[in-house]
């Protein structure tokens, strides 16, 4: 395969993984309004769990499910005490929890090999079919993204999703309508974190090597930038924005930069500035949420 094409395939795989992360964070932050800065930690939990189990011989599918499940479980356990908090305090606590998780990845050397990372992660495989090339993995990535998208959309357009949106708008008013907002918030967090865990497993079994530096807090803010520009609450917008920004970010790697210009630092600088500009000028994003209308239903019912 010519190298340009294989680069594109690689880019697409990364896009599917980040697409899942974006839709996941969109559910938690864009739809429900929970400022969860620890999102990258669940990405990491999914990755490490899946990788370690697979290396111990567990078939990929179950290792991946374990990663998803553990991410969801930890979201549940940490969510119970923290979802009592409002707005900025929730942000700070989730930030702290995310960093503690990363400290665990970095310092629990006997389990995770710390900064040296985990090499030799087995490829993903399903019923004997091994996803050992980028093209094959792209298939897996696209299917996963599609699945996550469908689940997120179904959730968003259900009465459950409606309550989530209400919580984003005005949680007090939702409580006054008799809804136990706690239950809704916890589920949003669990599902979003589980999706992030799925993305983590995919990432681990694609790159076949992971280390704590992939799960830094900046990643959560990069995803936050994506969903902010794609329009909070809009899953299709999130995917479009993922395509744009992941392409830009990977593209930065290929511009010939001077020796001293570290590409990772550069993208953090540029996108950080972009995040500031976006927050000030385009907080609602470029692509508005689709409006759900009812009068047509009514007219049809009457005719």
């Amino acid at each position: 395969m010519p190298s340009e094409l294989s680069l594109v395939v690689h880019l697409l795989v990364i896009i599917t993984i980040y697409g899942i992360l974006s839709i996941a964070l969109n559910l938690i932050m864009g739809v429900t309004g929970l400022f969860n800065i620890g999102h990258a930690a669940f990405y990491g939990i999914g990755a490490y769990t899946s990788a370690l189990l697979a290396k111990a011989g567990v078939p990929w599918f179950f290792a991946m499910l374990a990663g998803v499940f553990l991410a969801g479980l930890i979201a549940f356990v940490t969510g119970i005490p923290t979802l009592r908090l409002v707005g900025d305090y929730l942000a700070v606590v989730t930030m702290g929890l995310g960093e503690i998780a990363r400290a665990v990845f970095k310092n629990w050397i006997s389990l995770t090999r710390g900064p040296m990372g985990l090499p030799g992660i087995p490829h993903a495989s399903l019923l004997g079919f091994k996803f050992d090339t980028a093209e094959k993995f792209l298939l897996l990535g696209v299917i996963s993204l599609l699945l996550v998208y469908i689940i997120a959309e179904r959730l968003l357009h259900s009465p459950f999703g409606r309550v989530l949106k209400g919580i984003r708008e005005d949680e007090t008013a939702v409580e006054a309508l008799g809804k136990n907002t706690y239950r809704f918030k916890i589920w949003a967090l669990i599902i979003g974190s589980g999706m992030a865990g799925l993305a983590g497993s995919l990432f681990a079994h694609y790159i076949t090597f992971i280390d704590p530096s992939s799960f830094v807090m900046w990643l959560t803010f990069f995803i936050f930038l994506i969903i902010m520009l794609g329009g909070p609450g809009n899953n299709l917008g999130a995917i479009v924005a993922t395509v744009v920004f992941v392409s830009l970010r990977e593209g930065l790697r290929f511009i010939s930069l001077p020796e001293w210009l570290n590409p990772a630092a550069l993208q953090q600088l540029l996108f950080g500035v972009l995040l500031i500009i976006t927050t000030i000028f385009v907080p609602r994003g470029f692509i508005p949420e689709r409006k759900v209308t009812y009068r047509r239903h009514q007219d049809h019912a009457e005719s």
Partner: protein, 250 residues
């Protein structure tokens, strides 16, 4: 229907509500008035569970609801509006109203995602009920408008309608007439009276505007600096010297 006993609320050193007691039977329109800062909205918050009382108790239909979380009190049949209207701005009027009905099957994660027939049925029923309620105030054409685009008066009406969608027994209205032009106010008052006469709904109304209260309420309690200084029919209260003092005094 509602009984408030010896309700007191302290904020640090400040006593916002001072041993307030009153009760109201079913089907009454009860008014709560007083100068700014007299604690009226605090009493609302205490009744609906948004603030825990320092001392005192609240009984609804003879069951104690003191200190219960707001969502539970709402589920038992008390609905409220807010002084600063709290509609969901980035959602349409219809979406605002559809969120209100209690015990929706679709609010269960799995059932909602799968959109089982029960969910679809409930949605359809709710849509019809919402349209009917909107029609009463002539607002059907606003069903698909974002609440953020509505006028203040329209938002207030949406909030009241949304409260009604929960099929409550007791409705707390926090300043329903403020900021609305007089002709529309009469329409709202007629609507409230109609709901009481035809459906037996009970109302507790906080208001500033004396004329609205006198016009609408069967019975009134007057608060001043958190204390109830008078209670009675509109005539009794408007002639009570303590009330006149409170409103005109410094």
């Amino acid at each position: 229907m509602l009984r408030v006993e010896d309700l007191t609320k302290d904020f640090g050193g400040l006593r916002a509500v001072h041993h307030c007691s009153f009760e109201m039977p079913e089907g009454m329109i009860f008014g709560l008035i007083g100068p700014n800062g007299s604690g009226k909205t605090t009493v609302f918050n205490l009744i609906t569970g948004f603030l825990p009382p320092t001392t005192g108790q609240v009984f609804f239909k003879d069951r104690e609801i003191t200190g219960l979380p707001p969502y539970m009190i709402a589920q038992w049949g008390i609905a409220r509006t807010f002084q600063l209207v709290r509609v969901f701005h980035r959602m349409t009027v219809m979406e605002n109203l559809l969120m209100a009905p209690k015990h929706q099957a679709g609010e269960n994660l799995l059932l909602g995602m799968l959109r089982v027939p029960k969910v679809r049925g409930q949605e359809q029923e709710a849509i019809e009920r919402a349209m009917a309620l909107l029609a009463v105030m002539g607002m059907e054409n606003l069903a698909d408008e974002y609440c953020g685009n509505l006028s203040f008066a329209e938002q207030k009406m949406v909030e009241i309608t949304r409260a009604l969608m929960t099929d409550p027994d007791l409705i707390l209205l926090d300043e329903p007439a403020s900021g609305i032009n007089p002709s529309l106010v009469n329409q709202i008052l007629d609507y409230i009276r109609k709901l009481r006469d035809e459906q037996g709904k009970t109302f507790l109304v906080v208001e500033h505007d004396m004329r609205v209260i006198m016009n609408l309420c069967d019975r009134i309690a007057v608060l001043n600096y958190g204390e109830k200084i008078a209670e009675g029919t509109p005539d009794e209260v408007s002639n009570a010297p303590e009330v006149i003092d409170a409103y005109l005094g410094v």
